[in-house]
């Protein structure tokens, strides 16, 4: 790996730790950067070199191409891995790296630019023959009703100049179309000074399924199967799994084929994800995520491929070390995203200082974490703290292992999303694999029951008595402080 020897990781938290581990496995030198408040973070501890960023403010640190490139040069880095988020899909950053003689571990800037432009990405998908959501260019009233019938109901009317939800109407029956169309045009004209609208097929409760692809610089391209990521809140994924449950072999093959077509059309390189909406047995391209994804470990679990190591190898110019026929899916994997959010209050961010944490472990469990005791969860960064990945020969066994891991996982000091996960893993729809992007809505700030109320009251009373008395309650494994003190008193 001539061009990739010393790797600056332009990211933080669990993904920085993940990239450091891949560097170690390949004998590369990992170089970390960190914000001033993160000096105690695991990625700082695990790297060979750790360089401080000027401030916690991302615009002057993790989001600043010049600062990162300067630090990379200063540390003698030969490559930069951007992780996900921050600058990972920023074409200007990729260009700045290449200009400074640093290998950017990701797609070339031109590919990033095309993937980042929704219209360009859709055009590439159409050109490749991949299915996209049926839609129209902007329309006049005369032709609209006929077009709507052609697309099928329900249909979405959207303002061409739109944004922010204005001028958007879902029409479920042909009889309602004329009125909604007039309304949408009026709203669009009032809100944007432009009354043009267009139509798009509306899916009531689609599933979100995505395909992992990896391409090398010599035209080698493979897919690593699909992931199902339908459990979402505010477009944030909460649980992902591989392979997608309850889809037909035909749909699975069509998804992979469409992803490969889009990747070829884009001239894709490195690791990426092609996202689809699935409705019944139909799939529709939505976008390409031109980077490593948060949920990549479920694919790693079922394929046995180290995606981050593969990214680094492909970026250094190596060809893919295996072909499509070598990719075999073994078992099933589930991932839960542990975020510092309050699931009982609309998943609002939960800020605070983490004063204790216990990592889940054991057979079939992988825990990718950026948590440390003393960590201040601040408004500056993404709330994702860690990920639990459970792998087993069958989907049900993986879910059982995940339940076990969720009972072990503990974080003190901030709210985390595990109560949601524990609920979701017990839902009949989820267990049947029959869930969609609306399924998480049923959580509705969490269940309540008179049993839980009663036990909670007992717990609160015991906790109050134990802590208010001034005595320290026993720590796991240690003898009870009361019994120790009781004995001391007897001996007096």
């Amino acid at each position: 790996m001539a061009s990739v020897r010393r790797v600056l990781i332009a990211n933080r938290g669990e993904i920085a730790v993940r990239v450091i581990r891949a560097c170690r496995d390949l004998g590369l030198v990992p170089i970390a950067v960190y914000a001033p408040s993160e000096a105690g973070a695991p990625h700082v501890r695990l790297a060979d070199v750790a360089l401080p960023l000027p401030t916690d403010e991302p615009s002057a640190g993790y989001l600043n191409p010049r600062v990162l490139v300067d630090l990379a040069r200063q540390a003698g880095a030969t490559a930069i891995h951007p992780g996900y988020g921050f600058l990972s899909e920023n074409p200007a950053f990729a260009t700045a790296c290449e200009d400074a003689g640093l290998t950017f571990v990701g797609p070339p800037a031109a590919v990033l630019a095309r993937c980042g432009d929704k219209a360009a990405a859709r055009a590439a998908a159409v050109a490749s023959g991949a299915p996209v959501l049926p839609g129209t260019p902007s329309l006049e009233r005369a032709e609209a009703a006929a077009q709507a019938r052609e697309i099928g109901f329900p249909v979405l009317i959207k303002a061409a100049a739109g944004g922010g939800g204005k001028g958007i109407h879902v029409v479920r029956q042909p009889a309602d179309f004329e009125r909604a169309f007039r309304l949408a045009r009026g709203e669009a004209a009032a809100a944007f000074g432009d009354g043009r609208v267009y139509l798009e097929r509306w899916l009531e409760a689609p599933r979100h399924i995505e395909v992992q692809i990896v391409a090398d610089a010599d035209g080698g391209l493979v897919h690593l199967g699909e992931r199902a990521c339908s459990l979402q809140r505010r477009h944030q994924k909460l649980i992902e799994e591989a392979p997608a449950p309850a889809i037909s072999a035909g749909l699975r093959a069509r998804l992979a084929d469409a992803a490969m077509r889009v990747a070829r059309e884009l001239g894709y390189r490195n690791a990426g994800t092609v996202e689809f909406l699935v409705d019944g047995d139909e799939c529709f391209f939505i976008e390409v995520n031109a980077r490593l994804q948060v949920e990549h470990p479920v694919t790693e679990a079922v394929t046995g491929v180290d995606l981050v190591a593969l990214q680094l190898r492909v970026a250094s110019g190596e060809p893919l070390p295996f072909g499509q026929d070598d990719v075999v899916i073994r078992g099933a994997a589930v991932e839960c995203r542990i975020s510092a959010e309050d699931p009982h209050r609309g998943f609002l961010p939960s800020l605070g200082v983490i004063d204790g944490a216990v990592d889940p472990a054991g057979p079939g469990i992988r825990f990718d974490s950026g948590v440390w005791v003393g960590q201040r969860v601040s408004r500056h960064f993404d709330p994702l703290l860690a990920k639990i990945i459970a792998h087993a020969p069958t989907r049900f066994e993986a879910i059982v292992r995940m339940r076990r891991a969720l009972t072990e996982c503990a974080v003190s000091g901030v709210d985390i999303t595990t109560p949601f996960h524990r609920w979701a893993l017990d839902q009949p729809d989820f267990l049947a694999g029959d869930y969609n992007v609306r399924s998480a809505d049923a959580w509705n700030d969490g269940p309540s029951s008179s049993d839980a109320d009663r036990v909670a009251a007992l717990i609160a009373a015991a906790w109050f008595a134990g802590t208010a008395s001034g005595a320290t309650l026993p720590v796991d494994g240690a003898p009870s402080r009361w019994s120790v003190e009781g004995r001391a008193e007897e001996l007096r």
Binding site: D355, W423, S448, A452, A456, A457, L458, I459, W482, S483
Partner: protein, 179 residues
């Protein structure tokens, strides 16, 4: 001690006693249980063992009590000490031999059927307090002699306020000392 908890507006008085072996006896009237509370990590993460079943919980202190997160649920519990009656052990270890009997709850003193100097047995009635149309008998936790009466019938008292003081043991503990 008695702890008053309130969940979703429903109050529930729970008897809690921290025992010498580190277990905590809790009872809410419907059932009495021995539980153990183990700290898992930090200030908030615990494991409660009830009837040989270990339940991981997070207990987060709030201004009025605690938020208890167990399983998928979060339950906001208002907690306050309702009945700070000294235990017998506390009475015996009291070096002054003086025992203060306190109001079990905020309310109105209905009766103090004792006079200063009178001897009482453990369990003898020393006061009656009324709250929310409920009369509660307050008993002497140990035998002794009434040394002081701090309140009079008709008086409003706070929860935990001293009603009478008893000088424990010796002369007052003799049989037949009470009426």
């Amino acid at each position: 001690m008695k702890i008053e908890t309130t969940v979703r507006g429903a109050p529930r008085v729970i008897d809690v006693e921290v025992l010498d072996d580190g277990t905590i006896a809790v009872g809410d009237g419907a059932a009495d249980r021995r539980v153990r509370l183990h700290r898992v990590c930090g200030r908030e993460c615990w494991r409660i063992v009830i009837d040989d079943v270990a339940i991981p919980v997070r207990v987060r202190a709030t201004e009025t009590g605690a938020d208890v997160i167990l399983g998928a649920s979060r339950v906001a519990v208002k907690v306050r000490r309702a009945l700070p009656i000294p235990s017998r052990r506390a009475a015996v270890s009291d070096e002054s031999d003086r025992l203060e009997v306190r109001a079990p709850m905020p309310g109105l003193v209905v009766a103090i059927p004792r006079a200063v100097g009178e001897t009482v047995d453990a369990g003898s009635l020393v006061a009656v307090v009324e709250a929310m149309k409920m009369h509660m008998d307050v008993a002497a936790p140990a035998a002794g002699r009434i040394e002081e009466i701090r309140v009079r019938p008709g008086q409003e008292v706070l929860g935990g306020q001293v009603l009478v003081a008893i000088r424990v043991g010796g002369q007052g503990a003799s049989k037949g000392g009470g009426p």
